[in-house]
Symmetry: D2
Subunit: 366 residues, 4 copies
């Protein structure tokens, strides 16, 4: 019910504004006895961190995470173990150049929530988007780093598969390259880096921006997570992904392409394997059938719209009902979809962790 919480048994509440002193989250319901190191959480945050290349916002935020509760140290190597109590994580805001935003404090930026937000709440922290800022997603990434630990054997990875009108070559997919230091785009296709760089430099220099499509693949998802009706695993993944800033579409497996297939084409046939275990001969379903995980990799994609903050002037109005031309200076990502990769992974990981606990609750996790 809450407006700033997601999940049910693995439950994440986030708080914080772009230009407040800090932001953070409380992860409630994390099972006790899970071991991890702070560096593992930090590593995920570093993947989302701004300022790492010319293709993302130049805001300089170390995004250093502190854990304030819910864990105990174990041994001397920095291992932390969860106690089953709520885990509070905090990230200080460091580089808040509020002056950048003074000019548009009363203007409604096209593509942003400004107008609707003002009408709803009657008050708005305009600095950096306030609560609507993508900075909030740092808290999600921290929570997702924990979620990954909840389900034994779970591996959640993501990649950018399209930027604007350009797509990757799926035959060149290389997971190892996604987090390569030479890869500012989280693309799994090594050859695409040069193409994307040229394309995005053009976009950036034109004071424009562009959208992207991200694909998340979760391997090691146990069979049986989800439910046939309103706790479908795909439903919660879709809701989680759609809650990320600027996302306008979500797909599972074949997604919209499934509408174009026949029943024979779309059926994932099965055979018993030599090891006596069932084998799926394809994965059009994206690992979820009837709302329940099949044991195959869970595949989700989401579309990120182009950054709304652009240098090109756009017509709009201001809070006083005057026509204005809005040009958003400040520091912005020319393609917010890039940094959405670790965020999407985190949201999928959280959905899976939540359903893992829910399944264990209802069925005992058979």
């Amino acid at each position: 019910m809450s407006h700033n919480t997601f999940g049910h048994l693995f439950r994440v509440t986030t708080w914080g504004e772009s230009h407040g002193p800090a932001l953070g989250c409380v992860v409630d319901g994390c099972p006790p006895g899970i071991r991890f190191k702070l560096a593992e959480i930090q590593a995920e945050l570093d993947r989302r961190r701004p300022g790492t290349s010319r293709f993302v916002t130049q805001r300089r935020e170390p995004d250093e995470v502190k854990i304030l509760s819910g864990v105990l140290p174990e041994g001397e190597d920095g291992t932390l173990v969860t106690t089953g109590t709520p885990i509070s994580m905090l990230i200080d805001n460091v580089d808040q150049r509020s002056k950048d935003y003074g000019e548009i404090a009363r203007q409604y930026r096209p593509g942003h929530a400004d107008f609707a937000y003002d009408r709803k709440y009657g008050i708005r922290d305009h600095r950096g988007g306030g609560r609507s800022s993508a900075r909030e997603t740092a808290a999600r990434v921290a929570a997702g780093a924990l979620a990954r630990k909840v389900v034994p054997g779970l591996v959640v990875r993501g990649a950018l598969v399209a930027m604007g009108t350009m797509e990757i070559d799926r035959d060149a997919w290389d997971w190892d390259f996604v987090d390569d230091a030479q890869n500012p785009f989280f693309t799994p296709d090594r050859q695409s880096v040069a193409r994307f760089a040229t394309y995005l430099d053009g976009i950036r220099k034109a004071g424009s921006s562009v959208g992207a499509v991200i694909e998340i693949v979760a391997e090691g998802v146990p069979v049986g997570l989800g439910a046939p009706i309103y706790a479908k695993l795909d439903q919660d993944i879709a809701g989680n992904l759609m809650s990320i800033n600027a996302v306008k579409g979500v797909e599972i497996g074949e997604g919209f392409n499934a509408a174009r297939l026949t029943g024979e084409q779309n059926a994932d046939e099965m055979r018993m394997g030599n090891d006596g275990k069932p084998i799926f001969l394809s994965n059009h379903a994206g690992g979820i059938l009837g709302g329940i995980s099949t044991g195959q990799p869970v595949v989700a994609r989401f579309a990120v719209k182009p950054t709304s903050s652009i240098l090109t002037p756009r017509q709009s109005i201001d809070r006083d009902g005057r026509n204005v031309d809005v040009m958003t200076k400040g520091r912005h990502d020319p393609c917010v979809g890039i940094r959405a990769v670790p965020i999407g992974e985190a949201m999928v990981a959280c959905a899976i962790a939540d359903h893992f606990l829910r399944d264990r609750g209802q069925t005992g996790g058979r």
Copy 2:
């Protein structure tokens, strides 16, 4: 949290299996004092009802809805008024030909939840899909018919915009034609009927099936519904739509196409109208920015996969781990996407009604 409930303040719990004695729902949180007639609920159910043309399942279900609680009669014309207490609605299952399903009781039908379901619960009512049957959606449509009444001025309409590889001509869009008696497809394009009929007859006669894309448009949505983070209106619409059987993708506004646009193209510019009210010059956003409704029409699309129950044999396994070839007889829709139109409308209406009450709770509905 519950596995069979959706919504928070306008809260719908459904129950029932395809071949049990009945199915139904409890709508909790409906405001008191809302007036309607039973015939209005029934009319929505009739739109979803099977057996209305050769293009949908031939199961004969009157889908007659009874209201067991939560309303009082007012006057002599059949008007009912809600009392604010839970509204229990019940629909008897009449035409349950269980014998049709005997053959595949132990087989896992490709594309269905059978395998994952069995692994999760260890027990399964295989008849007609049991709880996974699309018959459950009758309860959603009944709830949605109430939801439409909760928000003054709200109009939620839907249409089929693509079937398999064929699309409508959007320039020929005519809302009035969607519910025309000569229109078995909920298409808004009069010319498309003959094309779709020929196409789907071919599919049907081949023992095959095909997917579809549905578009839902909600007009009269007040500005300010939703929230910037985890109660985004688009997030809950996406979750609601993804919870419909066979849905594999959801879009808001430009959806996946937004990824291909630049910031200038995607910006919905604004101007003050002559009446002193703000005007949007386009609606790429689909009526939702930053998770909050803008007052423009809310536009959502969803992709329905092809019916998994087909006459063409597919390879699979059975409960005992044997390889089998599955051919699903029985009565099935060659394109389940058709009847998904009123279901999609219902789910969007429920999401909007819920957010209308939630907004009134937090902000007083300014």
Copy 3:
């Protein structure tokens, strides 16, 4: 969030008014594979049923429960097995003498919700109390009968321990006598029957009513249910019991008497038993410490106020703002506390079942 639902993983939604066609509940989240017979549910309802003695309301309701979903028959002996899908139960209202209530349709009966209810909802089904009627508790008892099956080894029993100014002799406690056919009061003290009968006959003939105190004891509660803060087992038991009509107080273990004890007196000391298992030497805590079950019997008590519907006239006002004298005819329990015994058991059983599943979700049920 919902106004007619309780529980989180074992989740009960009830619906229905006193004088509508039926009432019922949906139990969502019940694990699959639980076996029971309809007669077991019915037996619990029969304990709560009106009309069984001169000491309870003379309304004649068979309270026959039907199960509409969520179970499959197993074998030939009437055994039902839960499937993990929502279990819908329905009880028809049979004996609705609406004419009894015509006189007070517009009057606000002292001690009843009438005034506050009207101010809140603006519309009210006055017949038999409408939604506020204790008839709704039949649905709780049905749900509780299922809840008892969820936790292996759980036994939940209740007894009336005080009626008005009279108390039982706790030294004469005999659980076997509570459901004895010669015991119209659910008292565990055989000698108290004659005393209570004489006392309550006097109350009844005087057109008056009287309150009662009920004690519920749950044995077989596993150690470790609950949580240290806002999912305390005692918190949820207290909320569940306080939600029963006419309840004004709830205690766990020593309850209010604990305030009068010293730390030494109240401490439940422990020793290792000869079998190597921990033994508590007393149970002042009522089986719950710091919100978590200790493995000892869980002991809760609740106070039921005297029936507000009495024949003795009381001053009040009506809906039109006129002073009136209210005298409630109709059929009423002179001591509603009596029939509260099976209701209290049901509510405690539901709380324990819910926490059993929640604990299994978070900790794996170590």
Copy 4:
């Protein structure tokens, strides 16, 4: 569902352990536009603060609250205004003498959650009770200070009405005295201070402890908050109060005494006042009838057990299954009931604020 959250629309999530770096809460759902000063929050915390007299724990904690999100400054006088986004509040732990607890790290203290907690989670921060520590209640008090602002005209006050075997003289009730600097007990009876002081000094010097009864009175509660079934206002107040550490019983209005009354005695009669408004002639109901507020003051009482940490040795066992004698040194309140007064106020205020928003959501707050 969450284990560390309470409330639905006014939703409080707390986190933190007794001996961690900090504790805090996130208040989600607070309406926008509420004005307050940090000093008002701090003032409530100061009332709960340890170390203020010899009758409470000598732990020295400034309990200085910081607000990290959800507010904007307004003007120059320190006024803060809520923005409708989550309000994160943080209180540093300063005086953590962990060495005090070393001795009983592996012992199960009678009356504490230690044994049950260990069995549930398998890991426990024993220092100061960890998550089970009453320090967590500082976060509740901070949240409650905000809750008081949500409902216009709401005044929530509390008082200690009994300590061990001693009671106040209710005829001497003086609200103004409760927060008097000369009153270390929150008693409303000036004469009781000397009696309580002598009594508690004796208890303290004997290494013992004693319980207490607290009464909370909420004035200015609008008529119509709550609901007839599972969102009863008294139900949520009872749950909220029972969630406070060491509480073993909760009453509304007459409470357990209602069981001893007749229907005539317990009826709150009504008359139309000279101003045309309804008047209740008594308040046995404690301001709540049928789960809904009547507009009269809401009156709740709760019983606090004696502090379990006492110097007198008690028999117990340790984590290794050995019999031990436990004597709890460290710094403890001889009567934890005293500091429970502001906590009880906070929990009642939170329940009322939540129901205020819920009522506004469902009914529009007629």
